[in-house]
Amino acid sequence: MRIFYAILLSALSFGLIFILDHPLGALPALGRLLDPINGCLANAEPTNIDFNQSIKLPTLQGATTVWLDEQMIPHIHASTEHDLYFVEGYLHASFRLWQIDMETRAAAGRVSEVIGDKTLAYDRKQRRKGMVYAAENSLKAMEANPETKLMMDAYTAGINYYISGLTYKDLPLEYKLMGFKPEPWTNLKIALLLKYMADDLTGATDDMAQTYLREILSPEQLKSWYPDKVEGSSSVIPAGTIFDKPSLSTPTHPADSLVFPHYLSSDFGEPKVEGKGSNNWVVSGSHTASGAPILCNDPHLGLNLPSIWYTCQLQAPGLNVFGVSLPGTPGIIIGFNDSLSWGCTNNYRDVKDFYEINPVKENPNKYWFNGGQVDFTKRVETIVVKGKPDVVDTVYYTLHGPLMYDQNYKSKDGLQRPLAMCWMGHKATNELLAISHMCKAQNYNQFVEAIMNFQCPAQNIAYADRAGNIAIWGQGQFVNKWKDQGKYVMEGFDSTTLWKELIPMHENPHVLNPAQGYLASANECVTDSTYPYWYNGGFTEIRAWRINQMLAGMNKATIKDMFAMQNDTHSLLAEKALPILLSNLNNVQDEYVEKLKNWNHNLTLETKEGTLFQIWWRMFYLDIWYRDKMRNIPDNAMPLPERTMQLLIAKNLPVPKKYQTPAGVESDLRNLITINYHRAVDSLKKLETNKSEEWYMAKNTTLSHLTKLPAFSFDHLKVGGWGNTINATKDNHGPSWRMVVQMGKEIEAYGVYPGGQSGNPGSKYYNDLLQSWVDGNYFKLNFLPNTEKQDDKNIRYTINFQKQ
C-alpha cells in the first residue's frame, strides 16, 4: 500500500511540476513565471535602482561614458563612431530588447512563431507585401557603403553583447509571459525596422478604391469629391515659391482606356489605417521674441508601450547630436546637433502603385508582358507557427514587384485578379546614410546633401539652424509620372505603365528662408500647382490651415507659444462646419443647441459640446458618403472631411435619396442634418448615463502595450484634441514625441513623449514621462557639450565602458 501511495504521490508531484513548467493554452508556464527568484518578480526593478556601473569590453576601441539624466536620457560620449553605435545598441537592448524583437518580427511576418496561428493572416500579408525582400534589397546598399556598414556592425554587436549575457532571470518580462527567447540580432533586422517604418508611413493605398470609384462616379463627381489638391490648401511649400526648371519633362498621359483596368464589383481595398499624421513648423528669428529660429515637431504614430522612441544624446569626434532614436536602428531620427535642428512629418506623396498582371493560362510560371511570356520569380515563404505545422506560401514576383493578391490570396472582398505591388520601399535605398549625415551636418548645404539619401518613407523635413536659416524639404525618392499614373490600378501588360525615370532628388519641392518668416507641414498637399512634376497622395489639410493661421499672426513667438500650439485643440472643422449645421436644423430648440451655439470649438478634454459635435459630424459624414455603390469602399477612401466641409459650405453636398423631399435640395439637406442631430443627441444621452460624455471619456485615448494587455496599458488618458486639431490625439494614435528647439547662441530644447525610457513594465521608468505628456508639459533637454567630463547637475548615473 505504501508503495502504491509513493508511486501515486511521485506521479502527482512530477505532474504538478510538469504542468507548472509548461504553458497551458494561453497561460504561460506558471511555475517559471511565479518563481520569485527567476520569474516575473526578477523584473521588479527597485525604484531606487543605481545604474552606476563599469563595464569592461574587449570589443571597444576606447573608453566610452554614458551619463543618465533625470529622465533616464543617456548621453553617450565615445572616442570613435564604432564605440558610439556599439553602446547605443547596447542601451537599446538593455531598455527595449523585447520591443525591437517584436517590431522586427512584425516587419518580417514572423509574429506567429511566438504567438501562434492568431497572427497567421498578419504574417502572410507581410510576406505578400515583400517586406523581407525590401529589407534585403536595402541591406545590400547599406552594407555596400563603408560608413553605414560600420554603423550597423557596431550597433548589432552592441545588442548581441547584451543578449549574450542574459539568463532566463534577466529576460524582459514579456519573454517570460510569452515563453520565448531573444535570438541574435542581425544587420538585416535594422533594415527590417526601417522598412517597417516605411510601410507604416507609405504603405497605405487607396488605388483599388479609386479604381472602383472611377467606375461608379461621373467625372464631375470624381473631380468635385476627390480633388487632387483640396481648394485653398496651405501647401507645405508656400504658394508662390518659384521652383527650379525641371530637368525631366512630364511623360505623356496614355489613353485611360489603355492603362486602367475596369473594376465593376464590390470593395477590394486594403483598409487604410486612418489618421496618421504629424506636424512640424519652423519660425524664423524675425518672428520670434528671442531673435533665434524655433523648430517644432510632433510626429503622430500609434500610441504604444514600450514607446516607439528612445531619447538620447550621441557624442563622438565631430558629432554631437540629441533627439529621439528609433530602438532597433542606430543614430538619431529627429533632433538637433550643435549647429542645426530638424523635424519630420509624413509627406504622403503616393509611392506605392498596383498593376494588374496577366498570367499565362497554360503555364502558371509565366505572365504576359510586352507580348511575350516572362517567368515569375518565386519566393517561398515559410511561416513558422507556434504549436502548429509550418505554413508555406509561394509569393510570385513580377518585374513590377510581388503579386500581393492572386487566386491564393484574395483581397478582403474576394477580388481574384492578380495584382502586383510596385513600392518605393522595395528599392535598395539607404536611409541610414541620410540619418548618419543629418546627425553630423554643420550647415544647410551639408544637411541638404545628407537628406539626398532619404528616399523612403518620404518626409517633409523642416530645418532651422543657429545661423538663422529656416527651410523645409518635401523629401523622398519620387518617380516622374504621367498625370494619374498610379492613382488607379494600372494594367501591367506592357511597358507603357511602368515606373520610368526617377526625379532627381535636388528637384524635390523645397524652400529656404521664405519671406513669410515661417514654414509648416501637417501632411497637407506638398506644393501648389506650379510644381512641375505631377504627383498625387493622401493629403489632409485641416491641421495645416490651423497651424498657418496661428503662425501668420505671430510676431514675437516664444517657446511657450510653441508649447501652446502643439497642445492646441481648436477644431477648424467645428468652427467652420458647426454654424452651418446649426443653421440648418429644422425646428430644434433644446438645451444642446444653445450649448453648441456658445461653444468655442475647442476639443478640450472635458468638453461635452465637443463630444456632441464629433458624434454629429461623424454621423452626418457617414450618412452622406455611405451611399449607393460607395458603401463598398473602405471608410477612409471616402471623401476627406475638409472636402465634405467645403461642399457643405458651398451647398453642394449630394444628399442621399432617403432624405429627398419635393421641397428641393435645401430642404433635403436640412432633413439630413436634423435627423442626424437627433441621433447624435441620443448617443450623447447614452454617454451621459454612463458618465462618459466628457470628450476624453468618449474618445478614450489609450496608450497600449504592444501585447494589448490592459495590465500594461493606460486608458482614458485625460487629453483633448482629435485628428482635426493640432493636438491630434485620437483613440490609439497621436503625438509620439513633442519637441521644441530654439536655435540661439545657446540651444534651448524641450521634449516629451508618452511613456518612459524603460520598456520594462516592472520599472518606474516605464511610464514616468506619461503624465507630463498628458498634461501638455515638457522636459528641458540637457544638451551637454562634447567633452569627456561633465558636471551637469541633472546627471544622475554614470556608466563607464572600458576597453578590456
Binding site: S13, L34, P36, N38, C40, L41, A44
Partner: protein
C-alpha cells in the same frame, strides 16, 4: 525540533539551489528532505509547504517592496483583473508551498517503502 529544522533546511537549500538551477529545484530539495527527515506524512507535507511557501513569499517581498508594488500590481491586473498585489504574492506562496509540500510528502512515503 526536527520539524522546524526540516523547514529551515528545505528553505535554505532551495534558495541556494535556485541560484544555479531552474525553479523546479525546490521540488527535488523538498523530496530529498522529505526522504531524509523521517517526519510523519502530515508533518512532512506541512514542513515542505511552509518551507517553500515562506521562502517564496520572503523572496517575493524582497523584490516587491523596493519596487513599490509596481510589477506585482500589474501582474495582479493581468491575472485577476484587479490591482490586488497581496493576492498575487499569496498565490506565489501557495503555489510554491504546494510544490514543496507535495514533494516533501512524496519523500516521506518513499522513505516508508524502505522500512
Amino acid at each position: 525540533m526536527r520539524f522546524f529544522l526540516t523547514i529551515l533546511i528545505i528553505a535554505l537549500v532551495s534558495a541556494i539551489g535556485e541560484m544555479i538551477f531552474p525553479w523546479w529545484i525546490i521540488g527535488i530539495v523538498s523530496l530529498l528532505a522529505g526522504m531524509l527527515a523521517g517526519l510523519k506524512p502530515g508533518k512532512s507535507f506541512l514542513a515542505g509547504f511552509l518551507a517553500i511557501g515562506i521562502f517564496w513569499l520572503v523572496a517575493a517581498l524582497c523584490h516587491d517592496l523596493p519596487n513599490d508594488h509596481i510589477l506585482s500590481q500589474r501582474m495582479a491586473i493581468l491575472l485577476f483583473k484587479k490591482p490586488t498585489y497581496p493576492l498575487f504574492l499569496l498565490v506565489i506562496a501557495i503555489i510554491g508551498g504546494l510544490v514543496g509540500g507535495l514533494c516533501s510528502l512524496t519523500g516521506a512515503y518513499i522513505r516508508g517503502i524502505s522500512k
